[in-house]
Amino acid sequence: MLFWTTIKIALRSMLANKLRAILTMLGMIIGVAAVIAMLALGNGAKSRILGWVSRMGKNTITIFPHNPKMPPVLNGSAEPLTLGDAHAMLSIPGVKYVSPVVTSGDPVKWGTNETYCNIVGCASTYIIIHDFQVQSGHMFNDFDARDRASVAVIGPETATRLFGSQDPLGHTITISTERFQVIGVLVPKGRHGWFDPDNQVLMPYSTAMTKLMGRAVALNHIDMQVDHAVDLTPVQNKAEQILRIRHSLIQGDEDDFWISNQLQVIQMANNIGGAFTMFLGSVAGISLLVGGIGIMNIMLVTVTERTREIGIRKAIGARRRDILRQFLIESVLVSLLGGLIGVVVGVVAAHFVKFRNFSGQVEPHMVILALSISAAIGIFFGYYPARRAAGLNPIEALRYE
């Protein structure tokens, strides 16, 4: 009963000082809106990265030829990854597909059209490992790899750049001086930041190594997919064991290769995204703090202005806690109302603000968090003024003009 009356009184005194109430709330509105928008933006970035990582295939392990833990000088002496290494991976139980990968960036030509893209030499299983689909034509097969066939499967973006609206199937493209027949076009995956999986040319690794890379033996990486029912870590350990033996590393030697699995990448993306979100959120949180100080300031003014009212209330029997509660309710009401408006503004802002190619994603927990922080700020910054009000001497308060 008293609670509702107190809220009613607080609302009325806010209505009587509309401009002041709005200015006080403005700090909270901006603060909460900023927190919501920033958290949403961070979240959007994170889910974008995670989406990209998971679209690059499921349950994958990638082996790189250098160990980033080793000093750069020693990396030069590292044994390269070879086709033999890739083959050895097939012996690990649980490994479903293995593809050696060599890459280069070269201009690709068709007639007078030319585009620069990623050339990937790989096994036929590469598109399974990385979850690509072929939209027209077909993927090259193991015979093509064996025969070093001059065939290529191109990304949809590459197809558009070279062929426009024409069907690329059966046409011959030129890379360096070599000619390759287009036998398939991939389904678009969508561009993800710095890497565009839709703008690349896939060909058998044997073809790429002999015709484009000067009979190179070093692989850029080895990609493999593990059966979904199998744990990634033991497979990764086994791969490390095999490679150490193949590279004649003795105990105490650092690995001269680097194995990363998708879970680690996801975890890393999660960590980076989380840190990013935290950073944005805490920067925005500072404006909340400023909003809170604004509330405290106004509540102190209010308490002084209403000294006589406090005296009257005390004279007719209000206890300390009644006065304390009244002013706390008022400050929480101001901050919560500001917070509510801030949530609306923040959600709208997060919806409309698009940063590069990702937009904000608001989640319910952010709204709950923002509102609880608003309430907490109301209590925290309202407590001191409220305590001051509660501690007033009734006689002096009644005498106050």
């Binding site: 008293l2 004279a315 007719i316 029997g317």
Partner: protein, 243 residues
């Protein structure tokens, strides 16, 4: 001192001492004051400013503590009480009426009268507040805010707020001080009316006309009671007619 308590007294003060520090000098605001007020009485406390009557009023109203002596109101010894305990006594046993009305702005007359009951978690505050407002003749102004009421009406609301908790005593501090004499008379009539219903009233005033309306007049000088004058009813009524 408790054994000195007069059994029929509603309010009993014995050996009351209150000192103030005014800069470096000590001021004895109340010096060994004894006073007892019986149920149903209507007492004026008079004296020039600085006599200690405001101090006495604050202590009677449980707004202030004192340095020595005892104060028993309605059988409860409040001498040693402080803070929230005094607030509770004020809420239950005392009804205040002030010179400048002291109503809360932005609250209707009804809500103002309800307020003391809300602090004691009364069950049906609204009905009690209505009854109190009817008793002071403001049944038709319940939903007006103080700014929409005349001075006399505001003081009636204040009286309604004072009586709504059914307190042991009504304490009025210069209740007619801000009103013209005609309206002041009306307010005194309201006090008479509620006194006739058995309520105990203490009016602090420097106005001797107001004091003559009371049954007794306690005169204070320099922190001590110097005289207690009985105004008999016949004289009061005669005077009432004359004015």
């Amino acid at each position: 001192m408790v054994e000195l308590k007069n059994k029929s007294a509603l309010l009993e003060i014995r050996g009351m001492v209150k000192r103030y520090m005014l800069g470096e000098t000590e001021v004895l605001a109340l010096n060994e004051v004894d006073l007892s007020i019986e149920e149903g009485d209507m007492v004026a406390i008079t004296g020039p400013s600085g006599s200690g009557k405001s101090t006495l009023m604050n202590i009677l109203g449980c707004l202030d503590d004192f340095d020595a002596g005892t104060y028993i109101i309605s059988g409860e010894d409040v001498s040693k009480l402080t803070g929230d305990k005094l607030a509770d006594i004020r809420n239950r046993l005392i009804g205040f009426v002030f010179q400048n009305f002291n109503l809360l702005p932005r609250l209707s007359a009804l809500e103002n009268v309800e307020l003391p009951l809300l602090y004691s978690a009364h069950k049906d505050a609204k009905a009690a507040a209505r009854k109190a407002l009817e008793a002071v003749g403001l049944a038709d102004r319940m939903h007006h805010e103080p700014t929409q009421l005349s001075g006399g009406q505001r003081q009636r609301v204040a009286i309604a707020r004072a009586i709504v908790t059914n307190p042991a005593i009504i304490l009025a501090d210069e209740p007619t001080g801000n009103l013209d004499s005609r309206v002041g008379r009306e307010i005194l009539d309201v006090f008479h009316k509620i006194n006739d219903q058995g309520r105990t009233i203490v009016i602090v005033t420097h106005d001797s006309n107001v004091a003559r309306h009371c049954r007794r007049e306690v005169q204070i000088r320099d922190g001590q009671i110097v005289d207690i004058i009985e105004h008999n009813r016949a004289a009061r009524e005669l005077m009432a007619q004359a004015v």
